[in-house]
Symmetry: C2
Subunit: 413 residues, 2 copies
Amino acid sequence: MNTEIITIGDELLIGQVVDTNSAWMGEQLEKEGFPVVWKTTVGDVGEHLLEAIDKALSRSQIVLLTGGIGPTKDDITRDTLCRYFNSELHFSEEVYADIKRLFEHSGRKINTLTRNQAMVPDACTVIRNYAGTAPCTWFEREGRVLVSMPGVPIEMKWLMMNEVIPRLKSAFHSGVYIHHHTLWVEGYSESELALALKDFEMQLPSYMKLAYLPQAGVVRLRLSAFTGNDGELSDVIAGQHVHLHRLLAGHILSEEDRAPEEMLGRKLLEQGLTVGTAESCTGGRIASLITSIPGSSHYYKGSVIAYANDVKCRVLGVKRQALRSYGAVSRQVVEQMAMKAIRTLECDCAIATSGIAGPDGGTPDKPVGTVWIAAAYGEQLLSTCYQFGTLREMTIVRASNTALIMLLRLLNE
Amino acid sequence: MNTEIITIGDELLIGQVVDTNSAWMGEQLEKEGFPVVWKTTVGDVGEHLLEAIDKALSRSQIVLLTGGIGPTKDDITRDTLCRYFNSELHFSEEVYADIKRLFEHSGRKINTLTRNQAMVPDACTVIRNYAGTAPCTWFEREGRVLVSMPGVPIEMKWLMMNEVIPRLKSAFHSGVYIHHHTLWVEGYSESELALALKDFEMQLPSYMKLAYLPQAGVVRLRLSAFTGNDGELSDVIAGQHVHLHRLLAGHILSEEDRAPEEMLGRKLLEQGLTVGTAESCTGGRIASLITSIPGSSHYYKGSVIAYANDVKCRVLGVKRQALRSYGAVSRQVVEQMAMKAIRTLECDCAIATSGIAGPDGGTPDKPVGTVWIAAAYGEQLLSTCYQFGTLREMTIVRASNTALIMLLRLLNE
């Protein structure tokens, strides 16, 4: 049972839009036993889409399309599907009623282009889209399924969860059971970890696979197993799991493959603690990660983003003397930021960052990429200086992940 | 001249990692006259990669690969390229010297897996990677080029800018000139705009194309032209451009296709103003967007992320009476937040948000997705209530973009 995704749109090819849809779809499909084995992106060119569809349906039982079904002329998916499935368009009263409802709700008028969204191919099953004007269409041929969905993430996600995945599950039994188990391992580089696990990897049965995903000071280690028998599989996995644990004792930061902000959130909830941040070079990214988690208002109080030194002093209360003597990017200042954040925001623990994200501002002894990070919990304090390289975005991303992990470590102690 | 990208790795298919590499590559390549016409993602499966390479080289002159060249067993790109190009591996002293330099610099020891990174196929040109251990390899066959790069973004970007693009430019003259011109249009929905531009679109020559990319209250309108003669093209584009301007008078928010945070940054620099934010439901995302722009320290002072009501009062100075009478998600509170941010952070203008990102916290009169946004500049104040739907992430993203655009509008007045 193979599943493929085709994403459609020039904006994806020329980088105006990053394709986050297919990653999200891959994750959901994989959980449900429909592993994605191939992804293709084509532009708004009918011939290319035809070729991609033809190739995908020749390789795979399930082909999911997103994009290219808006009301405007550059959207070519619907017409291409009509060509591929020798289908004509007809007007769907049902789809039109949905569009009318959507427009009435927001007080807008329906124009001819929007009305045209109710024209659907006659060779398909129409799946209603409650979140937008373009319906989802489901085609079948010789036991294979092609589904066309909107590219707007919110509409695609709604359709996937409520319609497409449930229908796929009733149409197909995938026959393959997949288990992934991912550990967060600290204290090893990717190659050191691979050497430490060389013998373990050699003894794995052929239907199991180990993958190394290095990320901000940890390696995410993914053990995957594929088989036709679910019951048997979970025993085998459990055995290998115990084995891995013995080999990596003391180096496992997490047993779950969750983002650091989610792991931190769970830990804070568990321990009934609140958190705040005092950020300089990360500029609010840590706050933004923490608050990306639903329910974070239970443990997150707030942050002071102190980009200007003056804000560090006036709002947070960092001593001007420390800034003058050691500079903003120093152990003294980042530790004060963390401690003062606890006091200013009245929280139990805090994270602070101060560094040089670049491209300017580096000096010979503090080059671009230098970041001091501190984590504080009550009177306990951890602080470390890192060097994250010369790319601004990378420095901000790595510093933020590292800071979250540092507080997680402090709370684990 | 067609260019394709193949990205490699199970983590991309199962959504553990979002493929941002290919979007970035597409953007750079397009600027240099190498438009990407096809993107493919395959997992860590040799047969799939072989098929993808074969197909891509049959369609396109330039094929760029990223990923799958790490030191561990799950990385299969190098071996697959050896198979495809009938090549053997040999040890490269030059690559090994680079690896040694990199390791000595960071005080780490080279192990056998890392040493193995110096084994390179003999049928290729090796391009040294100063940022990591896996070299870039350049293969040629029958006038076509395949380049294999690391999947680590920082390494891939360095190689693309310093090695791959310059080499492609000297190896190929693309023969096709491409111009994209993107306008940010406000005050129209996607379909309203398409109707307003129907006649304009009809009269466009066949080598020009209009695309509509709706985003957070604006439509990005992209006019593209493709031709073999650069000089002629710029005249034609200029003419169509004047035409578009006349049609959209008063609705053009920007003439440049840049993220709102970048446009705001330019405007602030131009006007010599400083900015700060007071965020509740956006949780630092606006601050994070503003500081993602290099040089933002020239105009960004800082932020107070006031998630807890107590922080809104104590740190920002919002009146407790306003919170009690109107609730945190209200015009009164968000306007106070914006005005107080100007005072607390000592900046010239500020953005404030207060809303219900969900999934919990909604009420019948303030359902999930309700967000009040205010922008303040001196004594001027704009504030509006929005409804961004029921998905937390989407609400945060849309509210942040909308807030940046609101301040931009206020500064444009």
